[in-house]
């Protein structure tokens, strides 16, 4: 396989420092009470690679929770309307394979048909360095969805931990360019390195506590075997807190609003949730899905039915964040397992 290298672990921090020279370095950091967040790295030794999934997902760097889009009425700048797109180059280090898979799908959502300029400018300036998961969390189930724990293609740069060294792969042009810029750090892999990497890939898959396939639930839904009584039970447990949507690396609901200040008005984009009734409220107050079941169902349908229909893959990468977040225990993993159980038992209520 070409575009593979070996990086000595001792040289990792040197490499990261090189990366940081012309880019903002973002990585997973530990906070109080075992929280993991992706933030700008000040001290490289603070990066926590052996850590559970971050909350929220790294999608916030491409599609932030609060994004300033444009500013109007600020006369001092000489322009009446000012574009607030950022062009800051970034490297996001230590993301998981599932999150990179999610970014690949986000790209298709935001860039395929009509380009979202805000997403586009962030995406073009962001480089992802992912790390193969060697010890998945109990909530992870990417292995069953082929979105992890390692990636075959589509990534920028992928690191595999081989003990004293990293097996480095680059797939995108930007990734290859970044590696070759500091080519003196990287060696060509030997045959034994390939073997070791294969071993790690195998063992990574073996560590998963659950393997969930979404094909079964999708088929059950498409065949009309999951009835509204089932969804009623799910709805009863839904708080409409929106936690699943905010934490999901693939959810893209947003709302746009204006905010006025003394010296002008800003147009901002905020995360939103399709679970909220206001999300689809029309002028005059009509709600097309007044019934709460429809709203709850939509989230699962979107991920299990519409995503595969439109983009050819599930709207779930098995990162397990909804399992951690959902207070009502109706996350994707649980619901998929339940639907599977129902269709196996023949009890299709």
């Amino acid at each position: 396989m070409k575009n593979s290298w070996i990086l000595d672990k001792n040289h990792l921090s040197y490499w990261l420092r090189q990366l940081r020279k012309d880019r903002e370095l973002i990585g997973p950091l530990r906070r109080y009470n075992h929280d993991i967040v992706f933030r700008t790295v000040e001290e490289i030794h603070e990066i926590a690679l052996d850590c559970p999934a971050s909350l929220p997902s790294p999608k916030e760097f491409l599609f932030p929770q609060y994004e300033r889009m444009l500013r109007a009425g600020d006369l001092s700048s000489g322009r009446r309307v000012q574009d607030l797109r950022t062009e800051r180059p970034r490297v996001i280090f230590g993301v998981r394979a599932c999150d990179v898979s999610a970014v690949m799908l986000l790209d298709r959502f935001f860039l395929d048909n009509s380009k979202d300029p805000y997403y586009d400018s962030r995406r073009r300036n962001t480089l992802f360095v992912s790390v193969v998961c060697n010890n998945p969390d109990p909530t992870c189930f990417c292995a069953g969805l082929q979105t992890g724990p390692y990636l075959e293609r589509g990534f920028d740069i992928q690191l595999t931990d081989l003990g004293d060294r990293y097996f480095v792969q680059a797939d995108s042009r930007e990734g290859i360019r970044t590696i070759s810029a500091t080519g003196f750090l990287f060696n060509r892999p030997k045959k034994s390195d390939y073997d070791d990497q294969y071993e790690v890939f195998l063992s990574a898959k073996a560590h998963f506590q659950k393997i969930i396939s979404l094909d079964g639930p999708r088929q059950a839904i498409l065949l009309g075997r999951v009835h509204d009584e089932f969804w009623q039970g799910v709805t009863d447990r839904c708080f409409e807190c929106g936690g699943c949507v905010y934490e999901c690396p693939l959810c893209t609901c947003f709302t746009v609003t204006d905010r006025s200040y003394e010296d002008g008005t800003e147009r901002i984009r905020l995360w939103d949730t399709c679970l909220f009734k206001g999300f689809t409220r029309m002028a005059g107050g009509v709600l097309p899905n007044e019934n709460r079941i429809l709203r709850t169902k939509r989230w699962y349908y979107h991920k299990l039915i519409h995503y595969p229909d439109l983009l050819g893959s599930f709207g779930c990468v098995g990162c397990g964040r909804c399992t951690i977040t959902c207070p009502g225990k109706i996350d994707m993993a649980t619901i998929a397992t339940k639907i599977k159980g129902l269709s196996l038992n023949g009890d299709l209520g």
Partner: protein, 547 residues
Amino acid sequence: MTNSIHEIADARVLFVIGSNTMEQHPMIGMQMRDAVDRGVTLIVADPRRTQIADFAHIHLRHRSGTDVALLMSIMNVIINEGLVDVDFVRRRTENFDSFEEKLRRYPPQLVEEITGVKAGDIRRVARIYAMEKRSMIYYAMGITQHVTGVDNVRACANLVMLTGHIGLPMSGINPLRGQNNVQGACDMGALPNVYSGYQTVTNPRARRKFQRVWGKRLPQRAGLTVMDMMDRAYEGKLKAMYVMGENPLLSDPDLEHVKEAAGRLDFLVVQDIFQNETTAYADVVLPAAAFAEKDGTYTNTERRVQLIRKAVEPQGEARADWEIICDLSTRMGYEMSYRGTYEIMEEIALLTPSYGGTLHYRLEEGFGLQWPCTSREHPGTPYLHRRAFAKGLGTFITIEYLPPDEPPDEEYPFLLTTGRLYFLYHTGTMCRRTVVLNREEPECFVEINPEDAESLSIRNKSLVEISSRRGSVKVRTLITRRTPKGTIFIPFHFREVAVNLLTNPAVDPVAKIPEYKVCAVRIKPLTRQKTRKRKAPKVDLEDLRIT
């Protein structure tokens, strides 16, 4: 709460009275939901069919303000059917005999007429609650916001003592505190009659202790309650007021009176994170830091003291509340200087026995400590009153059912009850500035039962005028069976429809809590109804508002 939240999972019977748990305490509500799935019996007593009532095994829809009668009747059944925990009553309580005298006046048949709850249901609830050992009571503002609020709470307390459902895990009496730190505010003595840890102001020993540490003479009398303050301001006897993180000009009952009182103040200081109705009357507005902009602790409903840390720097001139207070005090001539909140916590630990060990360094790891935590080694207390009550023996306080201060009559035939909505918080100072939250409930509404709507010929989403003896508001209707016949419900979050223009300022004689839950109103339709010759087809109006 006498117990911890996680104990819900292992209980056998949950008796929820006057609490819209699923909407207002969703995390606790979800534990209850889980418990029900696991086979726990859930009994809900609430005039409205709230979300939690939807999956309750028994839902008692008593009339608003008749909680004492209902609870007394349940106790009556418990005594008559011999379900009393005699051993517990003998060992740990007093004044049982005179209390029992009173109970005889509340047989279920009689109470059925007062409350509208069937005698059979009262008996069933009494048996289920008393016969199971792991029974817990949960209540919230539906119990307290009445002129008989204190009696309602006493009735709950008597019920747990009568059945011995206290002092053990999974059995106790659990008031659900509404805000993240309302428990902490009370614990710290943000009340007119107590110092921190509920040490009364009138107790000379407690006062001497605080005087020695603070080096100042302290008043010998309790202060005024919020309602008293407003009355005194109205009379012109109270000159200045300092309001922190409250919006009384929207949240207090009988707003016209409150506005007048606020206008008569010589000097009003308001400390808040945003402009609100009260800052409009203020002479000085002090910008305070929001929750994420300061360090400190919050004490939640299960008495758990939890550390919070600053995540972002305060905006503009805003400062943490403690910094503002310390600075003010220093300039007034009493030096208050702390390097950080941990030093304040040390003083709290010094003066407050129940917070004796809740120092910051112990709160760093894990999820905090539950008071009483009397020393640095104390692991915290998951449930209270294990061996004895705080005062020794538990007293059965004799109580009597009293009707609400302003029951509906011919002139004002409807009973108005106020409450909250899931997506909004209090007077909306924060949440109504949040685009998505405000969009969820953009407009106020009044919930009316379909039968009442039909008799008044009101349609869904039509404009009506609701007036009480104190004022009137215009609001759109929402026809639903959630609210019983004869009762209407209006949330109090909206400044456009300030329902507290209508509410009754009558207060509980002891706690001075106003009766937000009951007042008499009348409804006048404002949109002219088209008279139809053809009879309209019967539409099932069941739950048009599906939340």
